[in-house]
Amino acid sequence: METSSSDTPSHLLLAFLHSQSQTALTRLYQRPSACLSIFRLLGPLERQIVMNLLWLESVIPAATMAAWVPQDSRQAYEHSLSILSRLHLLPRSAAKLALNSTLKTGLRHAIVGGGSSGSFGVPANSDESHPPPSVETLDAYALERWETILHYMVSSGTGRSPTKPSQAVLVLLQRSGLMASVHGGALQITSLGFQFLLHPPHAQLWELLLQYLRMVEERQMDLVEVLSFLFMLSTMELGREYSVEHLSATQTAMLEDLRDYGIIWQRKTSPTRFCPTRLATTLTSSSPPLPTAAGVTSSSQAQGFIILETNYRLYAYTDNPLQTAVLNLFVSLKSRFPNLVVGAITRESVKKALANGITADQIISYLTTHAHPQMRKNKPLLPVTVQDQIRLWELEKNRMKSQEGYLYTAFASQADYEYVLHYAKQLGVVLWESSPRRCFFGTLEGHPNIRGFIERRTAGHA
């Protein structure tokens, strides 16, 4: 419910779709798989509104629908309507409610079947000599690909050189600002990248895909084709092979990119068929997109592995090098056992993380989401002392703030001072002012303007 009452739509992608034209969205809604996927990304209230309208043949007065909404949830309801209308699912006019007819047809086809759009992917004919890969193979592949990317990010700048992901992935990482090349040298992780590492896998995946979508136009690809292929993937079945024959040229070109991210799997010898991995099939659900990390059972993986004690000691039940590396961002690791890493959260380790641009809130939220089931019995989940201390360390870092600029002083008269100050304030460049001392401090950016202003004024006086 919180999702529908907040100001942002329930999913990152919806915000992106809001910025698309009606024509593009209508083309997208022609595919039942896209309708179903977008429907799933909506918040609960939006979904119910769509479902209430989906089976009606005629328009209904908006008041009829609003009658079902109690007074105190009006705001949430209006908010949902506005999300839907920005997606061009509902008309903007307030008097009548009816679903976009393209979406109506598409979503009905998705739910009761029918149509001939082929939008759920054409399965490949079974090939006796090459049986489709097992789910385990796909999971291992997706995990390996995805962790290669993350591992590359986390260990850039540490001197170690892990396997490099493909060039296309590197470009994507660079364009999304997660990594940057310093003085034309090797790519280094940015503070945005450090923050990215602490996000849940689902959010990470969508962040990269959104960047991919933003780059689509300059690569002269058709955005609708790209989106509908992603949605097609999200409705495909794990462990089944699909044929590339019916894909458009754009979509065929995407295969290679998506293979690099671990979203699809292809046999080198048979490029005519592909398999979606779990990363693809969970795009529109909230189940974990990444399978078990090597050696860790799925349940504990999904449920978290970190135990944090009040004495700042941290025990992480994992042997996954990536998780260890991520922990190493803000924990000083002491000892490592086959399935256990022991460390402590110290002032130094947290300061290092803060220096990398990671915020205290991100550390706390990472610890919370990955807390071991044992920890879930605690209320609050993390020891309060540790949480507070992490926040205090963050405050400590900000004891001094520095801003470059110019100090304007020694004004001839109070009127002079106020005249210039008034101008500087209009520009919004004043950082500090003192009327009794007749001086103020302005930013570097404001200086040329202020200097010009004073010069003009002096010239006028002369």
Binding site: Q48, H109, Q374
Partner: protein, 356 residues
């Protein structure tokens, strides 16, 4: 948070009632096949809302009840449908499994001369047990605790075509109270919501009470052609969402109870002052708690009965055949040693307060 939701359906599959429902002479004719096509669309919509939503269907058949479909069960590869590019495969698989099991069960019934009463209570109880399992799984088995936020929000939808079986009054009421008390450790909800969709047949007293007591909605479908719209508007929203967009509820509820001795639905009854058991006529010994009542009181009560039929109490049912159910009679009564006639509330306006 946007929690997954679990839906258990109790599907009344009485062949006789469905046959009657399909007759052109019935008030709103609808065939089982038409109904099932609407139901499947509704079920697909439920799963479409969220990939993690789960579903279980329990069939109430003559003399038995059976689990027809569970989304938790692994898909049997033997009966896979050929995949095609125009349908979302999970829907297709689910629909075909449901249809197959319903057909199998109905075929297995044969054509007996007389139809046994349907196993409605069995199906309802199984649905409750199932919900208990999915909502509390892993919490009792030691340290593998699950984050309560990931557990599904459960509800039950009863699809009914049969009339009330008054003999099952006690078990139905006990199921309702179980649903109310099936609290998860998560305090956000205290009960399992029971929704009722009455497709055919007379208003059901028990099911009205079931929906009312668990905060569900009771819908008597009088336009079978619009069945799908009924289902979507009233039953698709999980209970949490119904605060934001309300669903239709019944305005009138029949609160009458059935007596313990003859299972008749009664307007006026005699309540045991010790255990609150309900009887349609005064009895010398309460069959539930074995309290003995003075013979004088019996005579006085018999004399004061509204109808004039002679008051020889029929032999009460042996006590051990009755479930011990002190919780089933929610009426509050002044404590006295005699059985007093108690007028039972007939409608929501005066009934709601006594029942809560």
């Amino acid at each position: 948070m946007d929690k997954p939701s679990h839906l258990s359906i109790v599907l009344d599959l009485s062949p006789k009632q469905w046959h009657l429902a399909a007759q052109p002479g019935s008030p709103h004719p609808i065939t089982l096949a038409t109904f099932l096509s609407h139901l499947l669309a509704f079920l697909n919509a439920h799963i479409a809302c969220k990939d993690e939503n789960s579903l279980a269907i329990f069939g109430a058949l003559p003399g038995k009840s059976i689990l027809l479909y569970s989304s938790a069960a692994p898909v049997d590869d033997g009966d896979t449908e050929p995949a095609d590019a125009n349908t979302y495969r999970p829907f297709k698989l689910m629909d075909s499994i449901i249809m197959k099991s319903i057909t199998r069960e109905i075929d297995a019934l044969g054509e007996p001369e007389t139809e046994e009463p349907i196993g409605f209570v069995g199906a309802l109880t199984k649905a409750l047990c199932y919900i208990n399992r999915v909502t509390t799984s892993n919490t009792t088995s030691g340290d593998r605790g699950v984050d309560p936020a990931t557990l599904p929000d459960p509800r039950i939808l009863i699809i009914s075509v049969s009339p009330d079986q008054s003999s099952s009054y006690i078990s139905v009421m006990n199921s309702i109270f179980s649903a109310q008390k099936l609290a998860s450790f998560d305090l956000f909800y205290q009960k399992v919501t029971i929704d009722v969709c009455k497709i055919f047949g007379a208003e059901s007293v028990f099911l009205q009470q079931a929906a009312h007591l668990t905060g569900g909605s009771y819908i008597d479908v009088d336009r079978p052609d619009a069945l799908l719209q009924y289902l979507m508007m009233s039953f698709l929203a999980p209970p949490g969402l119904r605060q934001l967009i309300t669903v239709p509820t019944q305005d009138k509820i029949d609160f009458r109870a059935a007596c313990f001795c003859h299972k008749n639905i009664v307007d006026i009854a005699f309540i045991c002052s010790v255990c609150l058991s309900i009887f349609c006529s005064p009895v010398p010994v309460c069959s539930t708690c074995r309290t003995k009542f003075p013979i004088k009181t019996l005579q006085r009560l018999n004399a004061s009965r509204p109808n004039t039929t002679p008051g020889t109490p029929r032999p009460p049912t042996p006590a051990n055949s009755l479930p011990r159910s002190t919780s089933i009679a929610p009426q509050s009564l002044p404590r006295s040693t005699s059985i007093v006639p108690q007028s039972l509330p007939r409608n929501a306006s005066n009934g709601a307060s006594t029942l809560r």
